[in-house]
Subunit: 218 residues, 2 copies
C-alpha cells in the first residue's frame, strides 16, 4: 500500500474508521493534536491498530524540547516527523536516542512542498540528506510537488522510506512521487474534505497504480 492519509481535521474518528482498510497509514497533524491533546491520538490508534501511525509534529527545536514533545505520544504512534534542518548536536541526536529507546521511528523532512521552500528551505536539501544519513533516519519527507527532489533523495538514501506530501490540494497528481521513487504518497484534503473519503482514497490508489504502470516504461 502506497497511501498515507493526513488527518488534520474532524471528524477524525470517522475518517480513520472509514479509511482503515485501504490506507497504509495515518499522519496526524499538529492542528488536531493541539486541539484535543495527546490522549486523542491514543484513542484514534485503537480504531485502526495495525496501520502505520505517524505524528507529524514537524519538530524543529532543541533536543530536550523535542524529547519532551514526543513523550505524551509514545505508544500512540510508530513514527515522528522532525525537521532535518535543525541539525544533529544538541537536537536530533537526543531525539533519535529517545525514539530508539522506545522502538519508535524517526522521519525527517529534507525538503518542503510549498512554493516559498525553493528559495530558502530546499537550498539545504543536500545538507538535510546528510543529516538523515548521519542520524540513521528510518524515513524522510520530500515533496511530491517537486519530483526532482524526490528522485535526488531516493538516489542518495536508497534504504530509507520516502514519504511525499503535496498530492491533491497542493497540485501533484497521484503517482507522480511514486514514479520519482517515493514509497508513500501523503494525501490530506483531497480525501478528508471529500463527502466520500473512502471512495476518493480508492480512486487515488487506482490512479497511483495506473501511473506506476506507465512511469517505468521508457
Amino acid at each position: 500500500m502506497t497511501l498515507v492519509a493526513a488527518i488534520d481535521r474532524d471528524p477524525a474518528e470517522e475518517l480513520v474508521s472509514k479509511l482503515c482498510r485501504v490506507v497504509a497509514g495515518f499522519k496526524l497533524g499538529i492542528p488536531l493534536l493541539l486541539r484535543y491533546g495527546a490522549a486523542y491520538a491514543h484513542r484514534l490508534r485503537k480504531l485502526c491498530r495495525d496501520a502505520l501511525w505517524i505524528a507529524d509534529l514537524k519538530l524543529a527545536d532543541i533536543g530536550s524540547t523535542m524529547v519532551a514533545s514526543v513523550e505524551p505520544l509514545l505508544g500512540a504512534v510508530d513514527a515522528f516527523i522532525a525537521h532535518a534542518v535543525v541539525g544533529v548536536e544538541g537536537a536530533l541526536d537526543q531525539l533519535a536516542n529517545t525514539l530508539e529507546e522506545h522502538g519508535t521511528k524517526l522521519v525527517l523532512v529534507v525538503a518542503m512542498s510549498h512554493p516559498g521552500a525553493s528559495s530558502l528551505y530546499n537550498k539545504l536539501v543536500e545538507d538535510n540528506i546528510e543529516v538523515a544519513r548521519r542520524i540513521r533516519a528510518w524515513g524522510v519527507v520530500a515533496p511530491a510537488t517537486m519530483p526532482e527532489l524526490v528522485a535526488l533523495v531516493r538516489s542518495r538514501l536508497p534504504e530509507v522510506k520516502v514519504f511525499s506530501p503535496g498530492v491533491g490540494a497542493q497540485g501533484a497528481k497521484p503517482g507522480d512521487a511514486l514514479c520519482a521513487g517515493a514509497d508513500y504518497e501523503i494525501v490530506g484534503r483531497l480525501i478528508t474534505s471529500s463527502p466520500d473519503p473512502l471512495e476518493v482514497a480508492k480512486k487515488v490508489l487506482a490512479e497511483q497504480k495506473k501511473r506506476l504502470e506507465r512511469c517505468w516504461k521508457p
Copy 2:
C-alpha cells in the same frame, strides 16, 4: 521587564501564578500544549492576564497547516513563534495574514541556540532575517548562546523585538543577550526546575540588571 519564562512542564499553573508579578511574559511550549490541549492555554492565561503570552509552536509547515495549528490558541496568546526558514510564499504569508486578522503577533526564529545549529540552520541567518523583514514580523528569536548572532539581528532589524533563549541550562548567562541587543531573555529550566522559581526569577532579573550596567561601558 526583560524576562520571559518558558513554561514547558508541570506544575504550570503554580509557576504562572508565582511568576506573574516579576516576568514580562510566558512562553508556552509544545510539550505542555500537546499534553493538555489548547484549552489549557486559555486557562493558564487567566492566571496572569496582562503578561505577554507566546505560544512557542516552532511552526514549520505549509501555510494551511500553520493556520489550522494556531486556530485553537487564538485569544489565549498574544504571539506565535514560527520558523523563518520555511519561507514566505505558501507558508508564512498565509500565517501572517491570519495572525494580522486576529490582532496577534508573529515571532520568527532566525537562528537557533544548540551546537548543531551552527553547521546548518544558522547558515541561513541572513536569509531568515530577510524573511522576517519581508513578512514584517513583530519579533524574532536569536540565541543567547551566540551573542554575535543577536547583535547581527539587532543591527539588521532595529524595530523588531528580539527574544533570546539559551540562558541557564544551555549555558548563556543572564544579560549576555541583552548586552548584545536582545529585548527579552527567555529562561526555562533554570527557573522552572528550581525548588523556588520566584526567587530564581528575581535573581535572574538582578543579574540582568547588573550585567546591563556593565555592558554599555567601553
